[in-house]
């Protein structure tokens, strides 16, 4: 089977039952993505497939041969952190760090959904995409943190969301 992960090609022949999560961890050596529950209940395994966040434990590797998979290793490196990685460090958005790769991949997908104007369960109106703290908490509810670093996780995400919004505004003003 052929896979594209973090822009790199991999040819491996895993058992047909292999989940995307086990493919990443056991077959291509990308152990940044974590296994918590293996049943879609914790979000530790969150990765981006064609830019969308999904639980890699609840999908088969074989179903993703034509997709672009991005894991935490593909977002940034220790010398060149992704803005969300840097913000998690700055805000102490973790204790043990086990949920962190999933939190960060999920936040990347979530910010993209919010930028498209997708509403959430707590949105007052279905046309309102303003990213309040309540919105961030709801949209990130698929990522559990056993250490309960939630307040700092929300702080880190808010900082990046606000930065992206300011950049967009500057861009729009420049264009206008």
């Amino acid at each position: 089977m052929h896979f594209t992960i973090n822009g790199q090609s991999f040819d491996v022949e895993p058992d047909i039952r292999t989940s995307l999560l086990d493919l990443l961890r056991e077959h291509v050596g990308l152990t940044g993505t974590k296994k918590g529950c293996d049943h879609g209940q914790c979000g530790a395994c969150t990765v981006l497939v064609n830019g969308r966040r999904i639980n890699s434990c609840l999908t088969l590797a074989v179903m993703h041969q034509d997709d672009e998979v991005t894991t935490i290793e593909g977002l940034g490196t220790p010398d060149d952190l992704h803005p969300l990685q840097a913000a998690f460090v700055r805000h102490d958005g973790f204790q043990c760090g086990y949920c962190t790769p999933g939190q960060i991949c999920s936040a990347v997908g979530m910010l993209d959904e919010a930028a498209k104007g997708w509403p959430s369960h707590v949105s007052e109106s279905l046309d309102d995409g303003a990213l309040t703290d309540e919105e961030i908490r709801e949209r990130m509810s698929g990522n559990l943190c056993r250490c309960s670093a939630y307040p700092n996780i929300v702080d880190a995400i808010r900082e990046v969301a606000d930065g992206a919004r300011d950049e967009r505004r500057v861009g729009e003003e420049a264009a206008a």
Partner: protein, 325 residues
């Protein structure tokens, strides 16, 4: 997980030609099927991957409604412009379900066919008529906090866990299918899921190998639309009780009402007596109490789920107040 053969279908016709054979299952998002396969609650010998079929768009119908492809992800459906504008109860129900990650994967067809969250169904060491017909029902006389209070049988008291399906029941959706012989069927959502009766393992009227291709919504209904979900935590939890309500008030009276209930039964529950108790009446707690009496006249608790009966009553009254305020 038991091993299986895997094939990717190139067309809906190819999928159904292959889909009816013993032990064969379609896989779409996989978020329910793989969960159950890991526990060997489901042990298909063959999986047909339908996830790449060309059934992922939402289109207007000639009748003025909406046709939703079976592979439209729950996230995209909730965010769809026309759904947000004309069918907000459906957006709200979808957004109340699962998590952002799961909604990105979960498909419209798979959501309708997701199986119960009954703890004993998931535990292969327990008696469960749904998983192992004839073995009994560990939930009756066991811990049954999340189980049904309406339409149960002495064989099974499980609920259907979908939020989306409850909204679609209120909207009077139609499920469109393709059968192995190439015939298409149109099934009213109200007739799609079955009550448990003596065969709780047969959950819908689908035939083996029959593929859901679309779900159609009629033109947007009149009135206000609300989805209210009561659950054990504020997010990322299944409903204990949920209500999809669509009510129009004209000249101070309820002109039309469609109410569907989740968490109470083996299928999205609709009861014409509830709607009849409302239509023509002045909105207010007097009429709402009569509607709640009608809904719960035959309700029966099994111990740990007794609380659902008063909870359903209060949730209905609160929802009706919101719909008619």
């Amino acid at each position: 997980m038991k091993s299986f053969d895997y094939a990717r279908a190139d067309s809906a016709e190819a999928a159904v030609a292959d889909g009816g054979s013993e032990g064969t299952k379609f896989i779409a998002g996989g978020t329910n099927l793989l969960d159950l396969m890991k526990l060997q609650v489901e042990t298909p010998a063959r999986l047909i991957d339908i996830s790449r079929l060309d059934l992922a768009s939402v289109e207007a119908t000639e009748a003025g409604g909406l046709s939703i492809g079976a592979l439209v992800p729950n996230a995209d459906l909730a965010a769809h412009e026309v759904v947000r504008r004309d069918y907000p109860v459906l957006s709200r129900a979808l957004l109340a379900g699962a998590s952002g990650q799961l909604r990105n994967k979960a498909s419209t067809g798979g959501n309708l066919l997701q199986r119960t969250r009954c703890y004993y169904f998931y535990d292969t060491t327990s008696a469960c008529n749904k998983r192992a017909p004839g073995s009994g029902c560990a939930a009756i006389g066991g811990f049954n906090r999340i189980m049904a209070v309406l339409g149960t049988s002495d064989q099974c008291i499980a609920t259907h866990p979908s939020d989306m399906a409850v909204a679609m029941a209120a909207l009077e959706a139609t499920v469109v299918t393709l059968k192995a012989d190439g015939d298409r069927r149109r099934i009213a959502l109200a007739d799609f899921h079955r009550l448990p009766g003596d065969t709780p393992h047969i959950e819908t009227v689908l035939e083996p190998g029959e593929l859901i291709t679309h779900v159609e919504l009629p033109p947007a209904p009149k009135g206000r639309q609300v989805y209210r979900k009561v659950r054990d935590r504020a997010s990322y939890a299944f409903a204990l009780v949920s209500i999809a309500g669509i009510v129009a008030v004209e000249d101070g009276r309820i002109a039309s009402a469609a109410l569907a209930f989740g968490g109470l039964a083996h299928k999205p529950w609709r009861d014409p007596a509830v709607e009849a108790a409302l239509v023509g009446h002045t909105p207010g707690d007097a009429a709402f109490a009569v509607a709640a009496d009608a809904l719960l006249a035959d309700a029966r608790g099994f111990g740990s789920n007794d609380f659902k009966i008063p909870l359903a009553r209060r949730t209905l009254i609160a929802t009706l107040r919101e719909l008619t305020a």
